[in-house]
Each structure stands twice: as structure tokens, then as C-alpha cells.
Symmetry: C2
């Protein structure tokens, strides 16, 4: 668990090293106690479902009677999932947001989370904004930090999140039915466009000024988990997942697990506001195969269109109908005229990046 004099806890083997580090590091790791433990104790005091928070061998949860517990883990590695110099407040937000997004995609209500943190150093100038960004989002969703671990090492942030859902209502990947509409929340592709801006990809195609790049980058660095929509879709949607790796690839998981095919209206995919200004090739590519969108793709019976729209309105989240579930045939793309379109995502990207 989040051991708050963790220089003793985090060097289980290297005991002698611990003794050397002890004096110098202890005060630094007390900072972690300062930044994270207060929140846990106040949260544990306020929520009867939290039996015991940070500070013992285990945290204790009191699951609400009759509810299922939804559990998800995401590990974010510096240089792979975020830039090493990422703004720590946004990074704190994002680490929890991507986990809450998994709860949202299941229709689960956030309950609590654990944080395991490997840090090269206990730097207050990083820890203060990181914890502030993380705990602001936690507070927003009344999702208590109940424990975890801290250690010295390459920057690595692993969050395990817990949510609740009534049995039978979870929105699973394997539940799409032939004839379902396919829907997506919010907009797609601005996060991927921001990355293209950092990397100066497709210079002949992408036109974006600094303000537009900053706007798109907020989608990349500070995603919004669609928790309220996930809750509103309970009992309405069949299958759902969150889009972290691009719509086409993620929808493919639903198709595979449900044993169905799909038709997508390529030019109906809702582009982010910055992406919407780009050339059609880029719009199509990044709405279809962007990444870091953290929108919900879901299927629902055609007879429930009005209920889906009402769920979107009730959760203040845009929802767009983008296609339908078919008997078979994999993923087929149609243009605005209903004609089949073929996009070779990999080749396109490779060709134009080269």
C-alpha cells in the first residue's frame, strides 16, 4: 500500500542502500505523504464505502450490497505514453482520466483507486501539480485514493480503479447485435492531430497555427472521461468500449468479440474542432485511426435512438450515429454518397511520414 515513509518500504531488497539513503530521502518522501495521504483520509472519512484508506497493509472497501465491482488498470510509462517533460498537472489528470474512461465504457460508477508511482526523485515542483491534477479529477468523481505504493525508479504511473455497477448492466465488448446502430461520443482526432503537430507530420497537408495546436493538444494532454454518458447508457446500449487507439482498431474489438461486422459512414465521423478544418484525407485518417480520443464507441438497438439522444443530453455529451452492426463482412467504410471507401491506414501514414 502507499507506504508513506516509503524509503523503508520501497527498498525491500536493497536494505543497505536504504540505510545510506535514509536520512537524505526521508524528508523528500514525506512530501508524498503530504500530497496524497490527506486526500485519502478525508475521502475515507466521508464515504462509508471506504472502510480504511492509506496507511495499513491493505485498504478496505465495503462494496454496496448487490453491486458488481468493475476494475481496470493502466500503466503509463514516461517517453511512451507521455512526453518526459509533460505538464505534471495535466499528467496527473490524464493518468486517472484514462482509467475512469475504462469505467465509463463499462457503465460503472467510480468508487476508488490505488496509485503506484515509480519516481526518479521526489521533486516537490513535480509532485505538487501532479497530485493537484490527479486529486482534482478524483474529487470531481468522488473517487477516493485508497492506497498504492511509491518507489524510486524510472517514471512509471500505474493506477487501478474501482467502480460499481448493478449485475447484468455492464456494457461489454461482446454484446453488439446485428441491426444495432453504432454511436460515438464527443469528437475524434484532435489528440492525434496535436501529435502530428509536435512531430511535424504531413507538412503538405496539415495547416494549423499555434493557437489551434494548443487547442488540439488539450485533447491529448487532458482528456475527459465520459463517465456520465456511460452511466446514462445503462440499459440502453448493448456493447461499448473507450477509444484509446483509434476508432477502427477499437471498434474491431467489439466486432471480434461479438462475432459481427459493421458499416461505418466515414464522413459522418465527428471530427474535433481543429481537425474539422483540415483536408479530407487527414480528417478521415485521424477520426478513423487517431489515438488518445477517450471517447465511447457503443452500439444500441435502432429502436432506442431517442433514448440514446436523451442519454447524451442528460449527460451533456454529444452523441453521433456513425454506422450499423451487420451480420458479417468485417469493417466496411462508406462515403457520404454511400460508396465503399478503402483506406489503408498503415500505408497512408507510412507513405506521407516518409
Amino acid at each position: 500500500m502507499l507506504n508513506l515513509a516509503p524509503i523503508t518500504q520501497d527498498s525491500k531488497i536493497f536494505q543497505a542502500e536504504k540505510l545510506l539513503y535514509n536520512t537524505r530521502m526521508l524528508s523528500e518522501f514525506d512530501l508524498i505523504k503530504h500530497y496524497f495521504a490527506r486526500h485519502s483520509h478525508s475521502a475515507a472519512g466521508a464515504d462509508p464505502r471506504i472502510g480504511l484508506g492509506i496507511g495499513d497493509d491493505c485498504a478496505l472497501l465495503n462494496p454496496s450490497p448487490g453491486m458488481q465491482l468493475a476494475i481496470s488498470s493502466d500503466m503509463l510509462v514516461s517517453g511512451r505514453h507521455f512526453f518526459p517533460d509533460a505538464d505534471p498537472a495535466m499528467l496527473g489528470h490524464k493518468c486517472l482520466a484514462v482509467n475512469l474512461s475504462d469505467l465509463a465504457a463499462m457503465g460503472a460508477k467510480p468508487l476508488a483507486f490505488t496509485l503506484a508511482l515509480s519516481l526518479p526523485e521526489a521533486n516537490p515542483d513535480w509532485l505538487a501539480p501532479f497530485s493537484a491534477g490527479l486529486l482534482a479529477l478524483a474529487d470531481h468523481y468522488q473517487c477516493a485514493l485508497i492506497g498504492g505504493d511509491t518507489t524510486k525508479g524510472p517514471l512509471n504511473i500505474c493506477i487501478t480503479v474501482f467502480g460499481e455497477i448493478p449485475p447484468g448492466l455492464a456494457l461489454r465488448r461482446d454484446a453488439a447485435k446485428v441491426g444495432d446502430d453504432i454511436w460515438v461520443s464527443g469528437t475524434l482526432g484532435d489528440a492525434r492531430l496535436a501529435l502530428a503537430g509536435y512531430w511535424k507530420e504531413h507538412p503538405g497537408l496539415i495547416r494549423m497555427d499555434d493557437d489551434e495546436h494548443r487547442q488540439a493538444a488539450l485533447r491529448m494532454h487532458r482528456p475527459s472521461p465520459r463517465v456520465e454518458l456511460g452511466l446514462a447508457l445503462r440499459g440502453i446500449a448493448h456493447a461499448a468500449l473507450d477509444i484509446s487507439d483509434g476508432l477502427a482498431g477499437d471498434l474491431g474489438h467489439i466486432l471480434e468479440r461479438s462475432g459481427v461486422g459493421a458499416v461505418l459512414q466515414l464522413d459522418a465521423l465527428p471530427a474535433g474542432p481543429v481537425l474539422a478544418k483540415q483536408a479530407r484525407e487527414i480528417r478521415r485518417l485521424y477520426t478513423l485511426a487517431g489515438g488518445d480520443d477517450y471517447e465511447i464507441c457503443f452500439t444500441a438497438p435502432a429502436a432506442k435512438r431517442a433514448e440514446v439522444v436523451a442519454a447524451g443530453a442528460a449527460s451533456s455529451t454529444a452523441v453521433t450515429r456513425i454506422g450499423s452492426i451487420e451480420q458479417a463482412g468485417g469493417l466496411q467504410l462508406l462515403d457520404a454518397d454511400g460508396k465503399p471507401v478503402s483506406i489503408d491506414i498503415q500505408s497512408f501514414d507510412h507513405f506521407t511520414s516518409a
Copy 2:
């Protein structure tokens, strides 16, 4: 969750990098699916408490009615918590064992766990024995792997474990009472002695041949979580914790959280079989302030001595009475004659290592 074609899942930002890696890495990451997913699916099929295992946005647990959920996370970093060339089978065992040890110290029964794994490469020669070691221990305790995450990055293993316990029976650190006996399970210090052997510490004092070093090293690399003892101590013990950083330091957490002091019989501390042959200074130091022991230190009313002994016998775990909880006075050490002993752990180690 443990996304089992995770090259799409694990490079959320670096989408272009993903496209480059995709072809080459996918088959390697399929190995992870091979090594971990089978277990999850069979476990999920066998245990009604597992509503849904690996493969969706979240796993789903069905907590047993009326039970509290105990949750603990430990993150193990290469070069800090284990040697980079650690035997992967023992490492797989150890990563789960240290988490189960936290459940044991709480008196909780193992239920399930998530695994988040950052790997420099998907090497079958490492993954096969790692998963075998991990899953053998999981099977032994019927503790199902229900999800997690995989990514490319510096070797880092983060496990979050879930156990069940009836409300009010958790063995908490803050529950020691004045007059309680202090007990410890098993033996102490052989893991620390093994580390001293690797590092050639205290060459004038420690005498150990290669066979003895190997025997001691098993305690370091392949610890045994005292799960059965923890369960047997429900309703008998007051406070408990697992000893990962040395008895003195860890017992200190009980004293601090319970607002009490303690007297320890220094020469009654049960030394591991290899440590038992060493000089008294080394025996005292490593039983008192070793590390990586993963034994349970617990307190219980003096009136329940027979019940504690019976709990040890029922769980086939040695239990040794080593002291008592006092009103105050911090941690006092007595020798076999009842005379106070002062050991400056830090100075001793520093002096003799220098």
C-alpha cells in the same frame, strides 16, 4: 485491462511509432496473451465471484455478500526490488507473494489480482517462466488473474491484489493493546543474510558456504506469504502487519498507529536456519532489522496464548512469542538476562560496511 494485442493499447500517444512497431511486435505480444489469458479465462469460468476476466475495458467481480474487500498494490522495479538478472520463475512468484503477504497481514482471503507489466521486450524465454512462477502461486491460493495492462518500457511489475474479509475482523496496525503479547511467524533474517552474501558485507563476521548461501537466498527470492496463518488469526490477534523492511521498523508502525510502546526479547527472535549459525551481532542485527522477510508480526491478548499456538499449528506455521506491548517508551530491547540492549542499526551497518 490486460489488452492482449497490447501494441495497439500500449502506445496511446505514439501512434506513429505503433504503426512502425506493429508488424514486428504483434506476434511477440501475442505471447503475452498465450502466457496470461488462458489462466484468466479458466479461473473466471471456475469461480462465480469472477464475473468477467481479461479482455474488456474492466474486469467484473461479484463480492461475496457482506464481505469487505481488502486491496493492496506493490510495484517492483528492476535493479531496486530485484536484481536485473533475477530468475524469472522466482520473480513471478515473488511479485505475487509480496502482495499476498499484505492480504495475509490483514487476515484476508485471496480472491483475484491485476498485473500491470512494463517490459523492455517480449522475450518468451523470460515470459514463460515468469508467468509459470506467477500463476503457480495464483493457482495455489485460487487467486485469479482478472486483468491488467502491458506496455513496452523499463522492467516494472505492478500487482494489485484483492481479498475478502468479514467486516470488523481485519487485523489492523492500529489495534495493539497494552498487555498484548507480540508474536512473529516463521524465521527472520535469512533473506538479509543472503543479500550480505551477494554483497560480501561483514567479511570478518559472516561465515557461510555456497550451499548455505543458496539456502538463505531462497528466502530472498521466493518468499512464502503467510496467508493461512493470517486467516487462522482472525478474531484472535489484535494488530498485525507483514515484515518487509525489518522487524524493528515495521513493528514501529504498529506502535505509532496504536499509540503504544513495546519490549522485545532480542535473543528470542527466531533466526533463519542459516543465520542461526552466525555470530550473535549478525543474528541480532538481521533478525531485528533485516528485510524481505514477509513474516507476520502480530499482537494478541496474553489470555489467548493457547489460541495463537493452535492457529500456528492449524496453519502449519511456526509462531514465536517475542515481547509485549507496553503503555509507552518506544521500542525497548532486552537480552536473555532481561537487561536492556541498545543497538544502533544504522551505525553498526555503516561502520562494518565501510
